[in-house]
Amino acid sequence: MIKCIRLLGAWLFLGHQVVQAQEVSVVKWKEIQNILSQSSDTTYIVNFWATWCKPCVAELPHFEEVQKNYKDRNVKVIMVSMDFAKDLTARVIPFVSQHQLTGKVWLLNEPDANNWINKISTEWSGAIPATLIVNNQKKKKVFFEQKLDYDRLVKELSDFL
């Protein structure tokens, strides 16, 4: 019986993940701003990527892994796609389900990037991949315009937890 419930639980969990994997929200800057200005003790890892960017795609599994291993420690990973909004259904959604991404994926539809790049970090030239780690309650923020891997992410997160 317990095994049965466990299986059911696993099935529901996986089922939920599959549903999540197919969801990509198209967002405006306001949504990113909300993350940057939230005051809870949540550490957000915001990664800027795109389906056509090889180094970005290569580091996706590392972010997935962090998200799975740190979800009980107030860490939230948001993968912000810089793909064009017109490519959402033909390209981004199929990519996300093909790669079985279970984390939160947003497509930021704000083509006037000059208006918001410096708000992410003045260190950012605009090249991707790029990653911001922020926790407002702890008043901590760190930014990378480079590839990151699991070990590096864990190392950086240790300062936030």
């Binding site: 800027f48 795109a50 056509w52 960017c53 090889k54 180094p55 810089m82 793909d83 064009f84 909004a85 017109k86 539809n109 083509p111 006037d112 990037a113 000059n114 208006n115 790049i117 410096n118 950012w124 030239s125 605009g126 090249a127 991707i128 991949p129 315009e145 480079q146 590839k147």
Partner: protein, 213 residues
């Protein structure tokens, strides 16, 4: 005896180099500093898709040059391609042509090989040179980090100085939705002998992958 005298120095030097290398912060993709606004651009010489070799000094009779670091593979470069061709059409006749440079490692994206650059320039009828920066030395000297990344150079007589660094306009997705034409505004001002108003902008682009990273 002579050898023994030098040995400690050599060991110290070697150790020093090793230690400083080990202490260097691990930021392999640190964007190069590059030229500041107003900075003088060093001459460079690169291979063009037509087989010729082009150097900046070839442009000494021009009023300036719109240097665009671009690439074959990057979607941002692709959506801006027509606009880059348009810039050359508009300003080459006024003595302010486009000079396109591809500094990407063809090992990262085969689309950026010299052969593919040639094809691209032919297919799209580039009216300007499309240079390969194989060693990436030019991108590093400029501080180019992404494609497309524009540097507007003004010919000050004996030297070229950087007057604008950034993006072409404020809407990569839709040319019809553009409200600010940063490059056109900058070039127009230079042609009128006025200072450039917006000298630096940022845009999302494909990172130039460094070969030694």
């Amino acid at each position: 005896m002579k050898k023994r005298f030098w040995a400690p120095f050599i060991i110290t030097l070697t150790l020093g180099t090793l230690v400083s290398a080990a202490l260097r912060p691990e930021r392999t993709q640190t964007p190069p500093a590059g030229y500041p606004i107003g900075g003088t651009v060093a001459d460079f010489k690169l291979k063009n898709v037509d087989g010729s070799v082009i150097s900046l000094s070839n442009y000494k009779d021009k009023k300036g040059v719109i240097v665009v670091f671009t690439s074959n593979h990057c979607p941002f470069s692709k959506v801006y391609e027509e606009r880059i061709i348009g810039l050359d059409k508009k300003y080459a006749a006024q003595g302010f042509p486009v000079l396109a440079i591809n500094s990407n490692d063809a090992g990262d994206y085969e689309e950026n090989s010299f052969d593919n650059m040639k094809k691209r320039a032919q297919e799209k009828g580039y009216s300007f040179p499309y240079l390969q920066d194989e060693t990436q030395a030019v991108a590093k000297a400029f501080g180019a980090t992404r494609t497309p990344h524009v540097f507007i150079l003004r010919n000050d007589g004996s030297k070229f100085t950087v007057q604008y660094i950034g993006t072409i306009d404020d809407n990569y997705q839709d040319p019809a939705g553009v409200t600010k034409r940063y490059v056109e505004d900058a070039v127009s001002n230079i042609l009128m002998g006025k200072p450039v108003v917006v000298t630096q902008t940022k845009a999302v682009g494909c990172a130039i992958g460094w070969k030694d990273a």
